[in-house]
Amino acid sequence: MLFFVARRLLYLVPVLIAVSVLTFVIASLLPGDLAYVILGDQATPENVAALRHDMGLDQPIWLRYLGWLWHILQGDFGRSFRTGQTVLQAVSERIPVSFELMILAELIGLAIGVPLAIACAAKAGSAFDRLMTGSAFGMLSVPTFLSAILLIYLFAVELRLLPATGYVPFTEDPVANLRFMVLPALTLGLAEWPGIMRVLRSDMIAALQEDYIALAKAKGLKPSRILFVHALKPSSLTLVTITGINIGRLIGGAVIVETIFALPGIGRLLVGAILTRDLIILQGVVLLVAAGFVIMNFIVDMLYAVLDPRIRHGHA
């Protein structure tokens, strides 16, 4: 097991290097010279040349990449030329917001999706199953901005139960924090459950056809044990995969939802950086988000091994 973990960790190194190269190259390919952005349209060519030299922008791209990487390895991701904030400061300020949103959204998605999937698989082909698969398909086609507006209308405007926009840190006032988080998390969760439900449902239906389920029945086990232990455990691999991908995706912030609900998360940091051409913040944040995604996938791999002994023992 330790060997397995170490090997997977080793795989991360080339992936992370590739991610950093791509991030840097793409940021460098963006049109517009950083020096012009900083100096504005009043800049003289001499000023621009001087600033480019100061910032090292006149050096070849590979040299600039290595310099950037060297600083990153020392924990220096750069600093916004606009606010003077470092990338790490900006991210650490906003990550709790996106992180909390992601956890809550995923919990809501799982809380709706998993029980529905099990119920549908147990009664595959029934009216209930068809109704639920149909609703899942319907929900899958509703964009988040639409469900966000509908939820705001229902809970904030009509029922006046929850605030529509705003944010208070959890450490300041947990209750107020959760009240602000309910609607955005629900918006995302409603988009997450259909995928979770459909994947787990089809995996469980497949598992229920297996010989070992027939044997479990022939052993006289209770239907609940057959469903929750014999069928659910081998079916949970893809569930872990899509939950991992969802979480990875949400690490980058839910741009639309954070914007609608005015949450100061990573998504809005990124959008702000793009709009103000704050390239240093942009490439730093993209790199951190991509690294988070890669690490999330590593955790998913580890969970596979926990769930399926065949992977753990290298038989898969």
């Binding site: 297996e210 010989d211 070992y212 027939a214 044997l215 479990a216 029945k217 022939a218 052993k219 006289g220 086990l221 209770k222 239907p223 044990r225 232990v229 014999h230 455990k233 081998p234 769930l307 399926d308 002994p309 065949r310 023992h313 038989h315």
Partner: protein
């Protein structure tokens, strides 16, 4: 058929398919006494597995079963799901064909044994664990205590089938159904598994049904043999009587199709030509008639009934039985 532990009476299994109704089991009568062994022999698709699933009441949802399955005086077809569940694994156990797929890949051997024991017997975890170790030792698994923590993929096919047998034996069942228990195994392992089943059957005095396509498997190990073809029992006799004098041409052909060691190399195997009839298009006459070398006259127009001949125990369904003293 009174006094039998299990008796299947006039069982019919129909499966709806896109091509029409498929009659997998066609008016079958069978019985096994307590402590006795019955062999059911037939080629793939003859309905033997469907028959065993009908006994266990584990037919596919769409299948329709009519007739009675009497076990210990109760009709299993009318029993509630909960009562059936209490019977399965406890009094009525099964070993499936392929041990690669019949054990759950993500649960340990120990879990799969202990859950069965604890479901049916009033034992605490430590006792159930102890019993599991004894069972694994009884079916010839070395280092049984370590096996409990292992997963199926860590064991060979033969070992897995031994685990499946240990699970089946775990609650001292009255009847064990072994559905092609050796088909998926290496030849060298087959005899070991069959001998293990026979030994445990005798030791525990349980009834056993061995389902196989191989007459050689049932030859020395059963009290009675039923030969199935196209969903019907076509010949049924006490094992010694059957091998002494088989009457149904299909049985003879099945025996002739077994490879033998004493023939010259490169002699073609006397395979049964043709295929079994399409079960969705039942024949009017004897279903074996298109492939039978004795077929003549009413064989193609009338179905022969399974009836006793010289002795009450030897039944066969044939208009032109192989005469005494002739045949393979």
């Amino acid at each position: 058929m009174s006094g039998a532990l299990l008796s299947v009476e006039d069982a019919v299994v129909d499966l709806p398919t896109p091509r029409g109704n498929l009659r997998a089991v066609d008016h079958v009568d069978l019985a096994v006494g307590a402590g006795k062994t019955l062999g059911i022999v037939g080629e793939s698709g003859c309905g033997k597995t469907m028959l065993s699933r009908a006994v266990l009441q584990l037919l596919p949802k769409k299948a329709k079963l009519s007739g009675r399955v009497m076990f210990n005086g109760q009709d299993l077809t009318t029993l509630s799901a909960e009562k059936l569940r209490k019977l399965r694994g406890r009094s009525l156990a099964v070993v499936f064909q392929d041990p690669m797929t019949s054990l759950n890949p993500v649960l340990t051997i120990g879990t799969q044994l202990i859950e069965t024991i604890q479901e049916h017997l009033e034992l605490d975890l430590a006792q159930a664990r102890q019993r599991s170790i004894e069972l694994l030792a009884a079916v010839g698994i070395p280092a049984p205590e370590q096996r409990l923590a292992q997963y199926p993929h860590q064991l060979s096919g033969g070992m897995r089938q031994r685990v499946a047998i240990a699970i089946a034996l775990s609650c001292e069942p009255q009847l064990l159904i072994a559905d092609e228990p050796t088909t998926a195994l290496d030849v060298t392992i087959q005899a070991q598994i069959l001998d293990l089943l026979a030994r445990e059957q005798q030791r525990r005095h349980m009834a056993m049904i061995i389902i196989t396509h191989d007459l050689g498997v049932v030859a020395g190990r059963t009290d009675e043999v039923a030969v199935m073809y196209a969903g019907r029992v076509v010949e049924r006799a006490p094992t010694p009587a059957l091998f002494k004098q088989m009457r149904m041409p299909y049985t003879e052909a099945l025996l002739a199709a077994l490879p033998k060691l004493d023939v010259a190399p490169h002699t073609p195997l006397p395979a049964i030509s043709g295929r079994p009839p399409d079960p969705t298009r039942p024949l009017k006459g004897c279903s074996f008639s298109p492939r039978c070398r004795y077929s003549a006259g009413r064989c193609t127009t009338e179905k022969p009934r399974l009836s006793p001949a010289e002795t009450q125990e030897h039944l066969y369904a044939c208009f032109h039985p192989i005469a005494a003293g002739v045949g393979a």
